[in-house]
Structures are given as C-alpha cells and as structure tokens.
Symmetry: C2
Subunit: 185 residues, 2 copies
Amino acid sequence: MTATDRPSAGSDDTAGPARGDTVAGVVRQWQAVHPGLDTGPMEIIGRINRCAALLQQAEDAPLRRIGLSRPEFDLLGALRRTGHELTPGELARETFSSGAAVTKRLKQLSGRGLVERRGDTRDRRVTHVRLTEAGRAMVDGILPEQLAYETAALSGLGTPERGELAGLLGELLVQLEGRLGVPRV
Amino acid sequence: MTATDRPSAGSDDTAGPARGDTVAGVVRQWQAVHPGLDTGPMEIIGRINRCAALLQQAEDAPLRRIGLSRPEFDLLGALRRTGHELTPGELARETFSSGAAVTKRLKQLSGRGLVERRGDTRDRRVTHVRLTEAGRAMVDGILPEQLAYETAALSGLGTPERGELAGLLGELLVQLEGRLGVPRV
DNA sequence: AACAGGTGTTTTATCTGTAAAAGATTGCTC
DNA sequence: GAGCAATCTTTTACAGATAAAACACCTGTT
C-alpha cells in the first residue's frame, strides 16, 4: 500500500509517544511534502494494512505453539466449518489461495496425519480431502484459544465501537468483493 | 487469521449473491458447528485481513504498470516523504521490514538508478541512501495515480462513513501499536 | 594500545508462495 | 467412437522474505 510505514519519529514537541498512530505520522509527512494531496484514502487503507500486519503477527503466537502456520490453519478450519469433504480446488477457493499452495499444504498436513485424501469414484481427476480425528481435535482445541487471543487484541476498543467497526468493515468488504472479487471469476 | 476464507457458497435460498460479505458467511458456518462460540473478533479481524488482501491486490495495478512492487514503492516513498537521506537501518524501521529485505531492494533499486548510496564519512559501517532525480520523479508521478486508485476503491462508502472508519481504525491501531508494537523495541 | 562488546549492514541457507506448464481424465461434438 | 476442448490436480522453476550467521567498524575500558 501507500502508507504502511512508520513516521520518522521526529520527536520535537513534548516527545510524547502517544500522539496518534504511525499512519497519522506518515500522512502528516506526505502533507508537508505535497500540500495539496488528498491523503484521505491513506488513512483508511494504510491503517487497514497496518492493523492486518500487527494482528497477524500477534495471532501467530497461539498457532505457532502447536506448529501450524495460519494458512494451514485456515485450510483445516475450512474443512471443519463446512463439515464435509472438500476437493483441493474447493479448498483453494475457500482459503483464497492458489491451487499449488493447497497441494503443498495438503502434502504437509497429510504427512502429519491431520487430513486424509480419498479419490473420487466417478471422476478420477478429483480427490476429496477430509479431516482426520486428530485434525478435528486440533482445530477444536486451538479455536477457543485463538478467539480468546483475538478478543484480547481487540479489548482496547469499547463494545459499541467494536460493533461499529465490524459494521463499517462489512460494508466496505461487500463493496470490495462486488468490485474486485468478481473479476476473479 | 481465523476467518479469511470464503463461505462455501451453498446457494439454497434465493441464490442472491448480495447477501452480506464472505466473512459473514464464514462466521455463520462456525456458529452452526460450534453454537456457543464467541465469533465477535472474527467479524473484525477476518474483515480487516480480507479487506487488506483485496486492496493490496487492487493497488498492485498502478504500481505494476511501472514495474515496481509495493515494498519497493514503500521504500521510495519513505525517502520521498521524509525528504532526506536514510540509512538502511532506518529504512527497515520505516517500512517495517527486515534489514535483509532492505538490502535486496536497495540493490535492485540502485541497479535501476532510482536510489543512490553514499558512505558515511565518520562511521564507515553506515551508508546513506537517497532518491535520484529519476526516483523522485517516479514517486511523484505515480503517487497521484495511486491515490486516485485508492479513492475509487473506497468510493462505495459514503463520505461520513469513510471518516468514521478512519477514526475507528486509528483508535484500534493506537491500541495495537501500544500493545504489540512496543515489544518490537 | 589492545580488547570486549555493541551496532550497522550484508550474505547465506532455507522456506513459502505463485505462475506456468505438465499430466491425467472427462465429456462434448461430429 | 475418435478427437478435442475443458477441467482438476500436481510438478517445476523462480521470485521474495526471513532468521541466523558473518563481516566490518566503532567505542569505552583497562
């Protein structure tokens, strides 16, 4: 993006470290260099990207403890929440990743005994993937911990603000998926 | 994260494609499997991650046209907006990336004549990096186009909502940076 | 002055993800 | 039913990121 970086903490004022977020600093710098610029989008997109980066870094912790990367967990989660077998292609669509990436992850995960492959009887091109008992147990075991971690990460926001934020992000996401998600098809 | 994936578009109802975003579908699936689960954080974090992924994909377009990756552009942007030379270490901090990544990008960018290195006269460990005239022109040329692209991506939201969203994200980011960003030091 | 420890940068080994091609199989069309 | 385009999955080649080690240099202490 355009504003994911840190303002070069040019402390001159009170040197107070709690004077807005890093994106605000970046925007201020751009305004100083290009006074007329419409930096409005930066304040949303820059913050979304920065939040995503920080949250993902934090969320890694519970998963890392059980030796799972987030993409791997997303794959297992897709199988768990749909409740039935999925083909590699479906998994790729569910997790928004490439087919090649899914193949790699399946190799890894089936090596660890968390998922199983089964060939289709009718169409021998396709395989069906399902969670093993161990895989199901791992997802169910880590999920509450994961959600607790996420809740803690968001605890700085009040309950009403969390609702507002979720609503606004949902609106934006509907727009983006309608606009950008469709060309994917 | 936990909910970055697509709901297995089990079209049964009216098959209306405009029935909420993909994250809402994922949350609904989890609720069906684990009825008691507090899926509140998913609705924020999942959406942030999904928005980030879609926006980054879209934002690539203007940059790709001039053969620049976003991390490279972020590096050039940091030099442009601070207005002075930066060392590789400072660039790493500004762009939130590793020193090794900065080294690689500098090699690439200086090969293209967009940045120049200069050794420090006092401390021969450090080098100073500055934009060349071509680099400055490239940043200034692409930035308005980039921002126009971003504005278009956000145009689905009304002006007041954009302000609210920016404000809420700023609050969240302050919290996250205070909590997660400090251990980085 | 020599040394120890710290800092700034680069290199190396390794890992992950993707795009493009390959391989395998189906189903439609003539 | 033979051929051919389409579909699903995997493999291959390659670009990019990171962690850890290596390297170069500075600084304060003895």
